[in-house]
């Protein structure tokens, strides 16, 4: 692949991630796959790039004191367990020749669900702005999760909940991270807000903090297990993405929140549909060959 194409792709996805304030891994990995990078290499390399983009992102949040390190540590434990399991699963699936399918299926399912939910939410938000006086729902609800043991106090998040909740959440997202080549922010962030009830201000900094370590863990484990990390490719993507994100953030500031989220939702749904379509349409050749080690 040509260097200009890689930097250009990094720039394009960086622009979108800057505009929408998302990590971009869930867009970058499918784009790399569309461009013909083997899915396994795309996933592992993207994990490496997310380490870099999360480091650059977390610094700003850290300076503003928007990182809950206590919560971050619990999420980190869960994330390390989950991502290690994920890499193991990844290497088993690769050996039996099903990794490409599982990567694509995970994208179809999760992007489909997230895109749909986001689209509904932004449509409702747009309707609400047109109908002033509509009531907001209850912010905090108690359910079975609040009955779990090992309760801990998270000062920054102003929460007193069981450590098992963030642990299990992070473990689940860690598995997805390893298989999908994403930071998992697009699942982690809404889950931290709606499921754990964390204040929005600390959610992004805290999730970035834990994503650094989880993707670093994935990078090292994938290097050892499958040798699918290409740090040169990751570096080039990052170079484009950093510049693109700056431009995107400025452009995004000119659009309204609900409209931005609606646009992002449509984009996520499009990627999901395209991947889903590719799985269903009859391949040109039913046979494929793969070089083993």
């Amino acid at each position: 692949m040509h260097i200009a194409v890689i930097i250009g792709l990094g720039g394009g996805i960086g622009f979108l991630s800057g505009m929408f304030g998302v990590g971009g891994g869930f867009l970058m990995t499918p784009m790399l796959i569309f461009l013909g990078v083997p899915p396994a290499v795309a996933v592992s390399t993207e994990a490496n790039q997310i380490v870099a983009s999360s480091v650059s992102g977390v610094l700003a949040h850290w300076r503003r004191g928007n990182v809950d390190f206590m919560m971050g540590a619990i999420l980190l434990l869960g994330g390390l367990v989950g991502s290690s399991l994920g890499v193991l699963l990844f290497s088993i699936l690769r050996d039996i020749g099903q990794i490409d399918l599982v990567i694509k299926l995970s994208y179809v399912v999760f992007l489909g669900i997230i895109g749909f939910l986001m689209l509904m939410e932004s449509i409702r938000a747009i309707m609400r702005t047109r109908q002033p006086g509509a009531r907001r729902g209850k912010l905090h609800q108690h359910n079975w999760m609040h009955g779990l043991p090992l309760k801990l106090r998270f000062r920054k998040s102003k929460l007193y909940i069981s450590a098992l909740m963030p642990f299990m959440l992070a473990a689940f997202v860690g598995i997805l991270s390893a298989i999908m080549g994403v930071g998992g922010g697009f699942i982690l962030v809404p889950a931290m807000i709606y499921l754990l009830g964390m204040p929005t201000a600390v959610v992004i900094g805290t999730s970035l903090f834990q994503i650094i370590f989880v993707t670093a863990n994935i990078t090292i484990l994938q290097s050892v297990q499958t040798q699918t990390v290409d740090f040169v490719l990751a570096g080039l993507l990052l170079f484009g993405a950093v510049i693109g994100a700056q431009a995107g953030a400025r452009f995004g500031a000119m659009l309204r929140g609900e409209q931005l989220r609606g646009l992002l939702a449509l984009m996520v749904l499009t990627v999901s549909l395209k991947l889903g379509f590719d799985l269903v349409v009859t391949p040109a050749d039913l046979f494929s060959v793969e070089i083993l080690k």
Binding site: N48, Q49, V51, A52, S53, S54, V55, S56, G57, L59, A60, I96, G97, Q98, L101, L105, I212, A216, T219, I220, L221, Q222, S223, V224, Q227, V229, F231, V232, A234, G235, L238, V242, Q246, L279, V280, T282, P283, D285, L286, F287, S288, V289, E290, I291, L292, K293
Partner: protein, 248 residues
């Protein structure tokens, strides 16, 4: 003493042989190909001298290092195409191009191709594990050939060898960008009326060179260091990016 006597006899015999007896010399324009970071394939020229080949054929077999391959066949499972069957090849050539003066099947009959072990059907491809029935073998090797041709790694170039005045021959060889490093064996056959008259072999080594080779070695032989380095590199790059765009 015995050995010396024998070799003397051999020498006498070879001198006694008639001059027109089937000599063939082949060489390549390069004896090493370096895969550098910006490697985009390499054009070679295979050339040589042959005797009395005015109406004859030349076949060139260009074979890369043997590797293990997995052929997979998709089937539809509740609407989705899924890899269902796998055949693992223990010893497939990673690169297999055949160049000839005419289509191979016009030059050699199938049994001659088998005897000379030329063509993917005759190079002793072996599947790992349970052996395939002859019919399945044909079916799966055809699929393998199709997939490898798609990647540009296996190919037949008919009418790609030219013979000048029956004595000089040449064939342009384009190595694609996705070739693997290793030793490539070249076999050149001089064929008349379906019979082998002369044969010569040469080889070329393809090696990763420069930064790319260094990274490749580290990634495979010191994978833990490679992973840790990739993480440190990413942290540094991320920090730099944040510093570069920090609002002052």
């Amino acid at each position: 003493m015995m050995f010396r006597a024998l070799s003397f006899i051999c020498l006498l015999l070879s001198l006694a042989a008639p001059v027109y007896a089937n000599t063939l010399v082949a060489d390549l324009s390069l004896d090493e190909v370096a895969i550098t970071t910006d490697f985009n394939g390499e054009d070679l020229l295979l050339f040589g001298a042959v005797e009395d080949a005015l109406n004859d054929d030349i076949i060139v077999e260009f074979k890369g290092p043997e590797i293990a391959l997995a052929s997979r066949r998709k089937e539809q499972v509740s609407g989705i195409w899924v890899n269902r069957q796998t055949v693992t090849w223990k010893n497939a050539p990673s690169f297999y191009h055949i160049f000839s003066t005419r289509p191979l099947d016009e030059i050699l009959k199938p049994d001659a191709q088998r005897r000379l072990a030329i063509g993917y059907q005759h190079i002793g491809l072996k599947s790992a594990g349970t052996s395939l029935s002859p019919a399945d073998m044909v079916f799966w090797t055809e699929a393998l050939d199709r997939n490898m041709r798609q990647k540009g790694l296996w190919r037949r170039h008919e009418n790609a060898v030219t013979i000048l005045k029956g004595v000089l021959f040449r064939a342009p060889v384009a190595l694609p960008a996705n070739i693997l490093p290793g030793d490539y064996d070249v076999r050149v056959l001089h064929i008349r009326n379906g019979q082998l008259l002369a044969e010569d072999t040469t080889s070329i080594s393809v090696a990763k060179k420069g930064l790319g080779a260094y990274i490749y070695t580290i990634a495979h032989d010191y994978s833990v260091f490679y992973g840790i380095f990739a993480v440190i590199f990413a942290c540094g790059a991320g920090w730099l990016a944040a510093a570069a765009f920090r609002k002052t």
